[in-house]
């Protein structure tokens, strides 16, 4: 027979753990079976089998070695006893424990939420390979007064760059057309108000994940279209649709050459991407592909690795200057693709506002600040609470030390306790986030699911963070512990109080500041929602139509709509007051080219001013009777008139030049807010439409809304049966401009509530503790005849003082911080004293209630109760 032996460590384990009497018998049986197994199925399997059989054997309690409680060495490790002591202490001091655990929970919820938010904001465009070699060309126009960077470049530039410089690997133009067009497949046809065009190398530079198709050839041919996965499903019901045909504007067929995945964290939100050769210059546009002033083309370049960016910027500027048709002073900036999302504030231009996604650094910084403050508040709470608990256990600890406990043991005991609490807090935070993941997801605009693999991976890191974070506030109390000598009460009442006052004041100040900020943000948003925009946004329907369709049928449609009793007025326009506009240079005819400045251009029909109730300051609106209006009439806003060196009263009749067209000013309107209130109203010029307009504005008479909409829909159907009645309400479209602000407001109020909760819990626990320390004192005073009110005063005096100091500090701080944020709005409320007052009143009320509650409880106690137990 063979004499193979199983792995030694298992034998050792068995020897150690099995009942010594049975050991030989059981081990012999196991070995005998082991040898049989080796013959049957080999050594490897036999080893496994042996291991499993041994573990099972040890699983039976009766077969294991029995331990006797006697003996010199306890079989339980010190840790076990410490754990037991800790849980016991935690249970006995439920208030303290709950406060510190909940503090950790709340602050960790804040950290996790902001962590997700940040990771989303900073992850924009990180999915492009070689993203550090991809740039967007930003031309900067210089004139005497300022530098004007633009996100778009003229179409003539890109072809001149291809292959002309060794640093440039590829160049692609990208154009966003927001002229409505239709796309159809079989019976379904949709109006699409955003279509993208790109050069054939575009998908190689910005390599969106490809579902099907070939990225290097997909945009080569004319009449090729690449769809996003969502749009492939929208039209065909499936994602793999390469080779299918789509009707474009009912006069052309497009071949689907690819389907791409467009991640949510892409600055470009592409649905329909056509080859550049498909692009037809829209009706009425005076420029073509050789233009040097049509700045609507995003131009992306991909550099070879290690190329010099500055040299290339100069090269491009040189190419531009030697080819442009007129003399303009420009320079070139190359914007890294990863910076586009967060760092485009400076190149903001209303025309491009909805063309690519941008984030808000101010909001980001504000939130980070709020979370840091919360971490501080909760950290100070932990510090206060652990000091308090040390004080409370002064005698206890002294006895332990007299009996021979080493300081390390006491430290680790103390450490363990706090870790138990904070890890409990962490668990609670994770559970809360997972439980309310839907609500939190909408709050931060990022889908949270902790059970998902990628998101769970940060949990170990968070674990580490929690351990460190809860350790730091312990340092100070632990130092006190180590320094104190026997016999003395570890931390005396007096000492504890003075050191902690500062901390308490800090907490209250932060809370007051957060509360004020929250109230102001809310107030500003209400203000924005209710501010008079210079036109009437209520009761207006905006219907989206195909440009060509509208051109043919508009007058009929208008007549029919006007005969509907629900309709008050009808006009049409290319842009509908939600931030977008065209743009062109404007100057007085007598001025030099270099004196021109950019104005937003609104192509709006007759009646526009009347329908929108925009106020004319001087002159007149466009009139059907005056034939020259369509070619020469121009209406300026006040801002544009002033920039021309005129004012609202003398501008009418002036001759100006808008791009190439000579016009006569026929009227000046008040500065109405055609874009978000974040920016000041920019100069604006209104002309009668020379390209296709796509929006019909219908002013409704007041009345039952749904009835009105249905009635208008009926009229629409009889007048324009071939075009779907696709409408939005103007006020809700405008509301969209402030979505980011609302998200910010929601986040900041959540954090404010968290902060207030933590700070109050801290105040509650610590003041309760300090007052409890004076139980005997108050009892003696009472016995000696002190009145109820004098005791109340005695106990709460110091806290009131702290409260008042905090209030005094928080007023100016809140004021400064709130006005900082409000500066991001051009039309902001002044930081309001009333709001600061309200915030402070709230803090005072809550704080006072807390303190009085504790004091009252002590003051009404029967003194004999407290003096008895000695």
């Amino acid at each position: 027979m063979s004499q193979s032996l199983p792995p030694k460590w298992i034998i050792r384990l068995l020897t150690r753990m099995l009942d010594p009497y049975k050991l030989d018998g059981i081990y012999g049986d196991l070995l005998e079976e082991y040898n049989l197994k080796i013959e049957q199925s080999g050594r490897r399997r036999a080893n496994w089998y042996f291991l499993i059989a041994s573990i099972k054997m040890l699983g039976h309690k009766g077969l294991r070695r029995k331990y006797t409680p006697q003996g010199t060495r306890s079989r339980r490790p010190v840790l076990w006893y410490q754990l037991k002591l800790s849980t016991r202490y935690i249970r006995r001091n439920l208030l303290f424990s709950t406060v510190s655990a909940l503090g950790t929970t709340f602050s960790l919820i804040g950290v996790i939420l902001i962590g997700f938010y940040l990771s989303k904001e900073f992850s924009y465009d990180d999915f492009f390979s070689d993203q550090d070699q991809i740039y967007r060309v930003i031309p900067v126009y210089h004139n005497e007064s300022n530098d004007r960077p633009m996100p778009g470049a003229p179409p003539a530039l890109a072809p001149l760059l291809t292959g002309k410089n060794p640093a440039i690997a590829q160049v692609a133009r990208f154009y966003i057309s927001d002229i409505n067009s239709t796309l159809g497949y079989e019976e379904t046809t949709f109006v699409e108000n955003r279509v993208f065009y790109a050069d054939s190398s575009f998908l190689e530079i910005l390599d969106f994940p490809l579902v099907s198709g070939n990225r290097s050839t997909a945009l080569d041919e004319p009449n090729s279209v690449v769809l996003s996965k969502a749009y492939a499903v929208k039209y065909f019901g499936k994602a793999d649709v390469a080779g299918e045909l789509l009707r474009f504007n009912n006069d052309r067929l497009l071949r689907v050459t690819g389907v791409i995945e467009v991640p949510e964290n892409s600055h470009l939100d592409i649905d329909i991407l056509m080859s550049f050769s498909t692009f037809i210059i829209p009706f009425g546009y005076t420029d073509d592909m050789t233009s040097w002033r049509w700045n609507s083309f995003f131009t992306y370049v991909k550099l070879h690795k290690g190329s010099n960016r500055e040299a290339l910027e100069q090269f491009i500027a040189g190419v531009w200057e030697s080819n442009q048709d007129r003399d303009r002073d420009i320079s070139i900036r190359l914007q890294p693709v990863a910076d586009i999302y967060l760092d485009s504030e400076e190149i903001y231009h209303p025309y491009f506002a909805s063309h690519y996604r941008t984030g808000n650094l101010v909001v980001l910084k504000g939130l980070i600040g709020a979370v840091i403050l919360i971490l501080f508040i909760a950290g100070f709470n932990l510090m206060n609470l652990s000091s308090a608990s040390l004080t409370r256990r002064g005698d206890n600890l002294n006895i332990a030390r007299v009996l021979g406990s080493r300081p390390e043991t006491l430290f680790s005991q103390f450490f363990l306790e706090s870790q138990l609490l904070s890890l409990g807090g962490l668990a609670l935070a994770l559970a809360t986030i997972q439980l309310f993941s839907v609500e939190f997801s909408t709050m931060i605009g990022y889908k949270i699911d902790l059970l998902q693999q990628g998101q769970a991976s940060f949990i170990p890191l968070l674990f580490l963070l929690t351990v460190v974070y809860t350790l730091v506030p312990l340092i100070q109390p632990l130092l006190t512990l180590s320094r104190s000598s026997f016999g003395k009460t570890l931390v005396t009442n007096q000492k504890f109080g003075s050191a902690k006052s500062v901390v308490m004041i800090f907490q209250l100040v932060v809370t007051a500041v957060l509360l004020t900020t929250t109230l102001m943000v809310k107030d500003q948003l209400t203000y924005v929602a209710e501010k008079d925009l210079g036109f009437e946004q209520e009761q207006v329907l905006v219907a989206e139509v195909m440009g060509t369709e509208l051109e043919e049928h508009y007058s009929l449609l208008r007549q029919q709509l006007l005969s509907n009793p629900h309709v008050n007025g009808v006009s049409r326009s290319k842009y509908a007051l939600n931030g977008k506009s065209g743009g062109s240079p404007l100057k007085l005819e007598t001025q030099d080219d270099s004196e021109s400045f950019g104005v937003a251009v609104y192509e709006s029909d007759y009646d526009f001013l009347e329908v929108m109730k925009i106020q004319l300051l001087s002159g007149r609106a466009f009139s059907r009777e005056i034939k020259t209006d369509s070619a020469q009439g121009i209406i300026l806003n006040k801002k544009a008139a002033i920039l021309l060196g005129l004012n609202e009263s003398n501008a009418v009749g002036s001759r100006v030049q808008l791009l190439d067209w000579e016009k006569t000013v026929i009227g000046v309107v008040d500065d109405f807010h055609y874009a978000s209130l974040h920016g000041e109203v920019r100069p604006l010029a209104m002309v009668l439409p020379f390209t296709h307009t796509t929006k019909v504005l219908i002013k409704m008479n007041p009345g039952d809304l749904s009835e009105t909409v249905v009635a208008i829909g009926e009229t629409w159907k009889t007048a324009l049966p071939q075009v779907p009645f696709d409408f939005r309400f103007l006020d809700s479209a405008i509301d969209q401009l402030y979505q980011q602000d609302r998200q910010f407001s929601q986040l900041i109020s959540t954090f404010a509530i968290i902060a207030i909760a933590i700070a109050l819990m801290g105040l509650y626990a610590v003041s309760g503790f300090l007052i409890q320390l004076r139980l005997k004192e108050t009892a003696i005073r009472k016995v000696l005849g002190a009145s109820f009110s004098s005791i109340l005063r005695l106990l709460s005096e110091r806290f009131f003082l702290q409260l008042m100091i905090s209030v005094l500090i928080s007023v100016p701080v809140s004021y400064v911080i709130a006005s900082q944020w409000l500066q991001s709005f051009s039309y902001a409320l002044a930081p309001s004293a009333a709001l600061i007052l309200i915030a402070i009143l709230i803090i005072i009320t809550l704080g006072t209630t807390t303190i009085l509650w504790h004091s009252w409880r002590v003051a009404v106690l029967n003194p004999s109760k407290n003096l008895r137990a000695e």
Partner: protein
């Protein structure tokens, strides 16, 4: 005092120990169970059951003095049924017989 009733596996093992007489050790019992009952049972279960039966006083154990190479030189732990074990087995059998005999004929049909 532990209960003196017998579980199904306990009864089985007790009977097998009696059958094997002077070679009733863990692995042999396991083999018997597999052969006779065609059910798989692990060596640890056998030992745990043996331990339980010993605790109830139905079995006695002692080491033999042989040593074989395949057991790594370890002796066998042999089991023997005690008189109270025998009594328990008899009791369980008579209980069954009683119950069988009082089943009315029509229940299972004639045989």
């Amino acid at each position: 005092m532990k209960g003196t009733n017998l579980g199904e596996l306990e009864e089985l093992i007790l009977l097998i120990v009696a059958n094997l007489y002077d070679d009733a050790y863990g692995l042999a019992i396991k083999k018997q169970i597999i052969e006779k009952c065609r059910r798989s049972v692990s060596i640890s279960t056998v030992h745990a059951t043996l331990h339980r039966l010993e605790g109830k006083g139905f079995l006695l154990s002692k080491y033999d003095d042989t040593a074989s190479a395949s057991r790594g030189g370890r002796p066998k732990l042999l089991f023997r049924v005690t008189s109270s074990g025998e009594e328990a087995l008899r009791h369980s059998r008579s209980l069954r017989n009683d119950l069988w005999s009082t089943i009315p004929d029509f229940v299972f049909g004639k045989n």
